[in-house]
């Protein structure tokens, strides 16, 4: 009886939380005029869904949620270092800017990281990513190439209170891009980016089914340094409603569905306001997870962004993890 009651409370709370998050997001959507310009530096496009720092922040938070959902209870909460895992991941993101003179690009990214549970039902995660981006645009009949490399470090922590959780991710990323004009001129831009992403949420697991919803606020600050001044700074805030549902088909196989809603709340552009951002989109897609052994598993996922006015964006992810 106690379990039934707690399940009912949990489901009700999930509904309330989801509804609250959606209402809050809708209020933001209606109350805030869409930004008319963004710091959409070639090679560093913060409002592009393919932006590595946004993707990695989202992934870091979801990893901790997934780990907590898979946590197996044991009779000792006194250990500082419990159930550690290490993972490696590769993802490829293809994006096409639908606007006139927009850049299309392909981003290859590798991620390594680890996470563990510690005292007080707290999860800790650390990940390092390296990405290489190649893009080009046809502007007035001439091709501009834009290539970049980026390195990012993300540290995340999540505290669970039963079905409710709250957490914070923080990261640093460094982006180095170079724009080559048709006549061979080169504009080099280096970007130091910092981000903080507090999140709260609810999770539910019963039998083979699990689900989570996690409203997340991603705040980013960027400092631009060019080989042709002026240099500049920018910042932005983005709301992401992360949703995921998963089902264990067999002891080896699990499937999941991701459905995230992303909304750019505001931005403070200070450079290159020539491009317009899409500030509202959905990211949906399936994920498959296969346990080769009880310690080693691999996964693959596909996502596509829908509803974006400016970007066509798709991503394929493949990774493997080891539970020590």
């Amino acid at each position: 009886m106690r379990n039934e009651n707690s399940n009912k409370k949990m489901i009700m709370s999930l509904c309330i939380l989801s509804a609250g998050a959606l209402l809050g997001a809708a209020a933001l959507a209606s109350g805030t005029p869409p930004p008319t310009s963004v710091p959409d530096s070639p090679g560093y496009t913060p409002y592009n869904p393919a932006s590595a720092s946004l993707i990695e922040t989202r992934a870091a938070n979801q990893r901790l949620i997934d780990k907590r959902l898979k946590k197996v209870q044991h009779a000792d909460s006194d250990s500082w270092f419990q159930t550690p895992s290490a993972f490696g991941e590769y993802w490829f993101n293809a994006t096409r800017d639908k606007r006139q003179d927009g850049f299309g690009s392909s981003l290859n990214s590798g991620v390594i990281g680890m996470n563990f549970q510690t005292k007080g039902d707290v999860g800790i995660g650390l990940q390092l990513n390296y990405g290489s981006n190649g893009g080009n645009a046809n502007i007035a009949g001439s091709t501009f190439n834009n290539d970049s490399n980026n390195v990012g470090l993300t540290l995340s922590a999540m505290k669970s209170f039963g079905w409710f959780f709250m957490g914070l991710s923080g990261g640093y990323d460094y982006n180095n891009s170079w724009l080559t004009t048709p006549v061979g001129a080169r504009l080099t831009t280096r970007v130091d980016g910092y981000n903080l992403a507090p999140f709260i949420g609810a999770m539910y697991a019963k039998g083979n089914f699990s689900a989570s919803v996690a409203p997340t606020l991603v705040m980013r600050w960027q400092a631009f340094e060019n080989n042709t001044p002026p240099n500049d700074r920018s910042s932005d805030r983005t709301f992401v409603l992360m949703n995921q549902a998963a089902y264990n088909v067999t002891q080896k196989l699990a499937v999941a569905m991701t459905a995230n809603w992303t909304r750019v709340i505001d931005n403070y552009p200070t450079r290159q306001p020539q491009l317009y951002a899409s500030n509202n989109w959905f990211t949906i897609g399936p994920k498959i997870n296969y346990n080769f052994t009880e310690k080693f598993y691999a996964y693959a996922a596909y996502t596509i962004d829908l509803g974006s006015q400016t970007y066509d964006n798709q991503q394929v992810t493949a990774g493997a993890a080891f539970n020590f």
């Binding site: 197996v72 209870q73 009779a75 006194d78 079905w163 083979n208």
Partner: protein, 281 residues
């Protein structure tokens, strides 16, 4: 090296085949003769610290206590058994009182005591609620008279084998026969029969699953401690109710074999080293 490995493999295969055969036979015997060969009388008591809050409750361990009671009820006549002494989420004083209240004299029944809690590698019982304290076995047992030999203790905790290294345990509990759920540096895990991952337990342990569904309350959510499954597996292969110390030691040896079988066939990661104290050669 190769012959040794080969020998180990042969032993495992033989153990597996024997265990599967005996499980099948025992399962059939169980259907035919639920009252078992010879009835015994048991006195059951349990103390469980369970409600650690924030989704960390040891629900599986509470289910294990019920499963152990159900096995004892099947072994005794009449087929019912109520805990003579039970305490949930005790304070340190409450647990000491529980230990002190256990009968010291021979009451003509085998006394089976089930103890479960979160437990540190140092050998501290972690209490629930506002106690916020880890109490050593030294503190818990200091004022407790030594347990008599007709006592069976099931210690279903993490790092359970640590107690064997504690002088106070040797002094107070060595006369009893104790089943330890884990090695000194091991967790003991909760299993979930309602979830196919990480281990599809209903597929791998159909007889135990069916027995648990029949004997646990309909509200059972599928969670059980690791030792709970091992206990039920051993029970399903035991037709003679254990009464004497030798019987219990034999039953615990069967538990140890079942634990080894679980590690070989189901999961090493969710298993722990089951042992008995005092050790029996």
């Amino acid at each position: 090296m190769l012959p040794k490995q080969l020998g180990h493999g042969v032993v495992v295969v033989l153990l597996t085949v024997a265990a599967q055969f005996t499980e099948a036979v025992a399962s059939e015997q169980h259907k035919v003769s639920p009252g078992r060969v010879q009835a015994a009388d048991y006195f059951f008591a349990d103390a469980i610290s369970s409600d650690y809050g924030w989704g960390r409750s040891l629900r599986g361990w509470e289910a294990t206590s019920l499963a152990v009671q159900a096995t004892l009820a099947e072994w005794q006549s009449p087929l019912q058994l109520k805990p003579a002494l039970t305490v949930r989420d005790p304070s340190p004083v409450g647990l000491k009182q529980f230990l002190a209240q256990l009968p010291r004299a021979d009451i003509g029944k085998t006394q089976v005591i089930y103890l479960a809690a979160q437990h540190t590698q140092r050998g501290d019982w972690q209490f629930t609620g506002n106690v916020n304290a880890d109490i050593t076995w030294n503190d818990l047992l200091q004022s407790t008279p030594p347990l008599p030999p007709f006592r069976v203790v099931i210690l279903d905790i993490c790092h359970a084998a640590v107690v064997a290294t504690l002088p106070v345990w040797t002094e107070k509990m060595a006369a009893a026969t104790t089943l330890l759920a884990s090695g000194s540096d091991e967790y003991t895990w909760e299993l979930d029969f309602s979830n196919r991952q990480p281990v599809d337990l209903p597929a791998q342990f159909p007889a135990a699953t069916a027995w648990l569904k029949r004997h646990l309350p309909v509200t059972w959510d599928g969670r059980l401690s690791y030792l709970g499954l091992i206990w039920v597996q051993a029970f399903l292969q035991t037709s003679h109710p254990p009464q004497t110390t030798d019987d219990w030691q034999a039953f615990f040896r069967r538990c140890i074999l079942e634990s080894l079988r679980f590690q070989e066939e189901a999961s090493r990661q969710r298993a722990s080293t089951v042992s008995q104290f005092p050790a029996v050669p």
